[in-house]
């Protein structure tokens, strides 16, 4: 096989690997952005954070929110907001760091943190 073709195939393999690895990283991030309280489950996202902040600004104390199942869940707003916002910052920061590491990796073994022999 010509060197050019070998290189092209190596690059194709690298592209597939890195795209899949990015998807795996996103799966981990989404999993960490799930939060359960008082028998309900929430996805921590910008919408939830913004809505809770708005309610806090309106001096609300205890509110009913609809969880991912559309069930009404009563929560103490201040502690709920503290928990979801700190989780959001923590998880997205970690996502950023790992994503940057992936972005800079130019070889399959570097994407996976392996040595050149694949060990």
């Amino acid at each position: 096989m010509s060197t050019k073709l070998t290189k092209a195939l190596e690059f194709a393999n690298y592209r597939v690997t890195i795209n899949n690895q990015k998807a795996a990283l996103l799966a981990k991030t989404e999993s960490l952005l799930s939060y359960s309280i008082n028998g309900g489950s929430f996805t921590i996202n910008v919408e939830l954070l913004t809505f809770c902040k708005q309610l806090l600004d309106e001096k609300q104390k205890e509110v009913v929110l609809l969880d991912i199942y559309k069930n009404p869940i009563k929560v103490d707003l201040e502690s709920f907001y503290d928990e979801i916002s700190s989780r959001y910052y923590e998880v997205t920061n970690e996502y950023y760091l790992e994503y940057e590491k992936l972005r800079k990796a130019r070889k399959v073994h570097k994407v996976l943190d392996l040595n050149e022999k694949g060990e």
Binding site: N20, A27, K28, G40, S41
Partner: protein
Amino acid sequence: MKRENSRGILMFAHNNSEIDYFRLAVVNALLVQVNLGIKNITVVTDPHSLKQGEKTLGKRLIKKAINNIVIIEKDKNFKQQNLRNFKDTSHTVKTLPFYNANRCDAYDISPYDETILIDVDYLILSDTLNHCWGHNNEIMMNWKYQDIMYERKDPSLDRLYDMGITMYWATVVYFKKSDQVETFFNCVKHVRNNPQFYKDLYKWQGTLYRNDYSFSIAAHMISGFEDKGLPQLPTTLYKSFDTDDIHSAVDKNTVIMYLEMPRSPGDFILTKWSNVDLHIMNKWAINRISEEMLDYVTETTATTN
């Protein structure tokens, strides 16, 4: 004083001539302890599988991993009739007995108020399942799944047959002890006991009895014959298939997988899978890395104890 609800994990492990399910259960039980922080673990097995486990792993390790072993006798007729193709990647296919007849008894067997029933090959690599405890929903399981080789799609896994009901995965099931859940499991038992009737009615393909089918049918019936009537778990079900393999276990939360390319059978890419629970359908692959995994988890449990 109100008694705190008991919570625990339940697994079924019945070996066949090639696959050591009991070994997988021990590895997974230790993963449950270190990643979920749960000590209440029940494993349902048979005398032969337990004996094999004691021989290869030792009674001490088994005791450390599992605090409640329930021993049952296998239904030999069922075992001989329920044969399935097991793959160790596309290169090796073997037809072996698949003993899954007693999973419908999970409700009766579980000693816990809240139970998470998992397959032994659903590796617990995170604490995500802790989101289930104390949930308002009495029973939850997934119909949606995500293949970790993202380009791969298999629409045949979405329904019992092309125009049939949605298929739920019995890989992970959360349930509480309640009348509704008891009725659900009675429906599952009815399907198990009358497979031909339900096969004609729901038209699942092939002759193999799968719990995914009986749980899906029970979910359909108990929801008033409504599709997708039972709520899903608050976590996504991630799967790799038996055409994939495991490269290595990196630590107690991470495995590196060989994933078969969708348009190039027999060719693989590597993926590092970390901190997210994963269903690994290639049982031989888990057995091959079980020693490494046992080292990581026993190290961690020794440090925390």
